[in-house]
């Protein structure tokens, strides 16, 4: 565990980059430092591998002061990924990745084998091994940067705005890739970004910093969205934090009803018995076909081309409440369709019911957060 | 008789007179070189294939010792100032062509496109956009050309007292008066530094948009330090 204890960085000209910052960075998870430019997030990151020395305060790595060990040893135990990847343009992809293993004294062959293994891990075609950085796209370069940082299998990974120089589509791919790699490797990752969406998407914990290097809030992303500490954090999160927060709420407990769902061979009685403005018609396998008002349906002669489209279905337990709500909003009837893995209808749910679920979840969450915060304070104090 | 500023009478000039002569012999060729270099550089800029051979040729020309040029020219122009000035103009040309070509090339394409889109014709685009932006590079070239010109004039002493301050060097040897050589070297160095300072001031005046103290080479973009390649010619 990395523990930042009341760390201050003041530059000779008096600028306060970081002001008495205390953070506990949990092992095997992604901790994101986020904030506007000038909030000291990069300085904080760079103090962890001593690229910047703090003016006051200490940083502990697994209980030991990082000042106690030689700076090169410390840095070799931490992967470091920066914005433009910072690849060595005179070395091939494979030799870039093999840099740290070679520094640690590995043989050339072993280092290259390790590099090839990492290329696959970060989703790079090994055919690129002999290319030079200028022959790669921005996204590929960044993948090489991540692979290079992982090469010696360091327990800690420091990432300084690694994805901010690539376009949004590539960025999304890189983020998903990082989450996948993290699931496999379980590194302790400290990730700096100015993009709150990226922070919310990647972070297990998110530290929001404000100008002058002060900590505004340190919380899991769901709590950050539902319960911002002050106006600054709220403003920084943006206008639709409520909607975004739904990403963290599960649809497992959502109450589904099968009442308005009818098979293609439904009888007139079945159609008449349903107490709903619209009925969802399925095919013989139970997959959704479309919506219709009951009076427009003739038993025994249901024509799929006359039905209203059912929009996009969601999978309860897999998709979040945000997806479920989105399905309901986009549905012509205001009802979202829930399906199982095979695409068979499990039931439908109204906007009303989703709204109830959101309120319940928020009430539960608030209680949980209050408990959690009491615990945090003990640790931080 | 052995004073620092006691110039032997056979030089036919006072110290100040030698300085004036030296500056004239050194600076007229640079000006002539600049006038010639502008159209040649424009051609090289337009016909890109022309540039690499021109660059190779100029490097080799620059390497030919000035003394050899002087000697060969004596047959045509006699033991005159002109014999010294013609090679110096040629050397200036050689320094200035790459400086101007690189300077003009450093103008970003989007700037040129914007100028064209605003309806500037080729002539106006050259004089109002390309030349001003290339000014720092051209002045960097002028600094090198001027420094080498001031140094090279002294070699003219070898072809019969056409070296202005360089003649002091010959006199120093003839009369075994090292202080005259010290005088010559220092005066030339000071002249070179003064001219250099004036050119830097000129650049500051001409390019108010550039941050003070910015090095011309690094500001021109793609190839930092490009102008360090053109070095002051010594002989």
């Amino acid at each position: 565990m990395i523990r930042i204890e009341s760390v201050t960085k003041r530059y000779p000209d008096g600028t306060m980059a970081v002001d008495r910052l205390s953070l506990e960075i949990p092992d095997r998870s992604i901790t994101v430092l986020v904030g506007p430019s000038g909030c000291g997030k990069t300085t904080t990151l760079r103090m962890i591998n001593r690229m910047v020395e703090p003016t006051e305060g200490t940083i502990l790595l697994d209980g030991a002061d990082i000042q106690r060990q030689p700076v090169t040893t410390l840095r070799r135990s931490m992967g470091y990924v920066i914005q433009n990847a910072g690849l060595f343009q005179h070395r091939t992809v494979v030799d870039n990745i093999a840099t740290v293993p070679r520094m640690l004294g590995w043989g050339r062959q072993r280092a290259r084998e390790r590099a090839a293994e990492l290329m696959e891990r970060v989703g790079l075609d090994t055919a690129l091994a002999k290319r030079y950085p200028y022959q790669l796209s921005g996204g590929q370069q960044q993948r090489v940067g991540v692979a290079r940082a992982l090469a010696a299998d360091p327990p800690v990974l420091l990432m300084d705005e690694p994805f901010s120089a690539v376009d949004p589509v590539v960025r999304k791919g890189l983020q998903d890739e990082l989450l996948r790699i993290q699931e496999e490797l379980g590194k302790t990752i400290v990730f700096v970004t100015h993009d709150i969406d990226e922070a919310v998407k990647l972070g297990t914990m998110v530290a929001v910093l404000r100008e002058g290097g002060r900590l505004a809030q340190y919380a899991p992303p769901a709590e950050l969205l539902s319960d911002p500490a002050d106006a600054f954090v709220e403003d920084f999160l943006g206008a639709d934090r409520g909607i975004r927060g739904l990403s963290f709420l599960s649809t497992t407990a959502l109450e589904l009803t099968t009442d308005p769902v009818i098979p293609p061979d439904a009888t007139a009685e079945r159609i008449g018995a349903a107490d709903a403005a619209h009925l969802l018609v399925t095919d013989g396998e139970g997959r959704p076909l479309g919506w219709s008002e009951p009076r427009r349906l003739t038993a025994g002669d249901i024509r799929p081309d006359r039905l209203l489209p059912y929009g996009r279905p969601f999978v309860p337990g897999v998709d979040s409440l945000r997806v479920a709500l989105d399905c309901a909003v986009l549905s012509p009837t205001g009802w979202a369709v829930a399906v199982d893995d095979a695409g068979r209808v499990r039931g439908v749910v109204s906007q009303q019911t989703i709204g109830d679920a959101i309120r319940t979840a928020h009430q539960d969450g608030r209680t949980a957060h209050q408990d959690g915060r009491a615990g945090d304070e003990k640790v931080l104090g | 008789m052995s004073g620092f500023f006691d110039i032997p009478s056979d030089l036919q000039h006072s110290w100040a007179g030698l300085i004036g002569l030296h500056l004239r012999e050194a600076l007229i060729p640079v000006a002539a070189g600049l006038l010639l270099a502008l159209p040649v550089a424009q051609l090289c800029g337009r016909f890109r294939r022309l540039y690499p051979p021109v660059l190779g040729l100029t490097t080799v020309l620059y390497a030919i010792p000035s003394l050899a040029f002087f000697v060969v020219l004596i047959d045509y122009t006699g033991q005159t100032e002109l014999t010294v000035m013609i090679p110096l103009a040629l050397y200036s040309l050689v320094v200035l062509i790459p400086a101007i070509v690189d300077g003009v090339r450093s103008v970003p394409d989007e700037t040129l496109a914007a100028a064209t889109a605003m309806g500037l014709g080729p002539v106006r685009r050259y004089t109002q956009v390309q030349l001003p932006i290339a000014a720092p590079a051209i002045i960097a070239g002028l600094r090198v050309a001027t420094a080498s010109s001031i140094s090279l004039v002294s070699v003219g002493a070898l072809i019969g007292n056409q070296g202005a301050l360089g003649n002091l060097l010959a006199a120093a040897q003839k009369y075994d008066r090292p202080e005259l050589a010290v005088n010559a070297v220092l005066t030339m160095a000071v002249l070179a530094i003064l001219c250099d300072v004036l050119l830097v001031l000129l650049r500051v005046l001409l390019t108010p948009w550039m941050p003070r103290g910015a090095r011309s080479g690094t500001k021109s973009g793609a190839r930092p330090g490009r102008f360090e390649e053109a070095e002051v010619k010594a002989l």
Binding site: Y80, G86 | I64, L67, L169, Q173
Partner: protein, 221 residues
């Protein structure tokens, strides 16, 4: 007679190819002076340029020294040094080294200083020692510019080593100085042609050195 006739006559005369004043001998002497001067200048300019470029400090002092050194006229310096310490190899080497140090020093400084900072940052972050950062990250990228500084220095030395003849040493300058006093234009043109040829050879050698030592990733080809 024009320059080409002179050159033709000079190189066509078999007497010019033999003995202590023959072309091979003079060429070799010229090469020796040039290499020695380049070696000394590089031994001064490279380490200082690499160090200042790496730390990014001392740039203004370097620019000042380089400008001052450039302002010194080599021919004047030669005459002065000869008057002060007499004839020999040293008075030739002093102006040549003074001439060659600034381009090597300034270009090396500039080349290392302008290396993209992000790979250097990455290297430092992965725990590379400073010496390794300089030689394995910065120098390979700065190499084309460093070579160009060495190249201009070398060509200037080749051209200026002619002055060795002025202080009674050998080298290709012999032909130019002797030709001047003997009014023998064949010799002058021949000597100048040989100097230009050596300059051309220098260019080609540096081009080849670049091909061999600069990584294709830096050359981008």
């Amino acid at each position: 007679m024009n320059i080409f006739d002179f050159a033709h006559a000079f190189f066509g005369d078999s007497a010019n190819w033999q003995g202590y004043d023959g072309i091979p001998q003079r060429f070799l002497e010229h090469l020796q002076y040039s290499l020695l001067a380049l070696a000394v200048a590089a031994a001064i300019g490279l380490p200082v340029g690499l160090l200042t470029g790496h730390t990014g400090r001392g740039g203004n002092a370097l620019a000042f020294i380089a400008n001052a050194a450039r302002a010194l006229p080599s021919f004047g310096l030669l005459v002065l040094v000869v008057l002060l310490i007499g004839f020999g190899l040293l008075p030739v080497m002093i102006p040549l080294v003074v001439l060659a140090v600034p381009p090597i020093l300034v270009t090396t400084y500039e080349a290392v200083r302008t290396v993209d900072p992000s790979p250097v940052d990455a290297a430092r972050g992965m725990g590379m020692p400073e010496s390794r950062i300089l030689f394995q990250v910065e120098v390979p990228v700065a190499l084309p510019l460093i070579l160009s500084g060495l190249r201009s220095a070398a060509i200037q030395i080749v051209s200026t080593a002619t002055i060795a003849a002025y202080v009674s040493l050998g080298g290709l300058g012999r032909y130019i100085i002797d030709g001047l006093y003997q009014r023998d234009y064949e010799k002058v043109v021949g000597g100048a042609t040989l100097v230009a040829f050596l300059a051309l050879v220098t260019l080609v050698l540096f081009w080849a050195a670049g091909r061999f030592t600069v990584s294709p990733g830096v050359r981008r080809r």
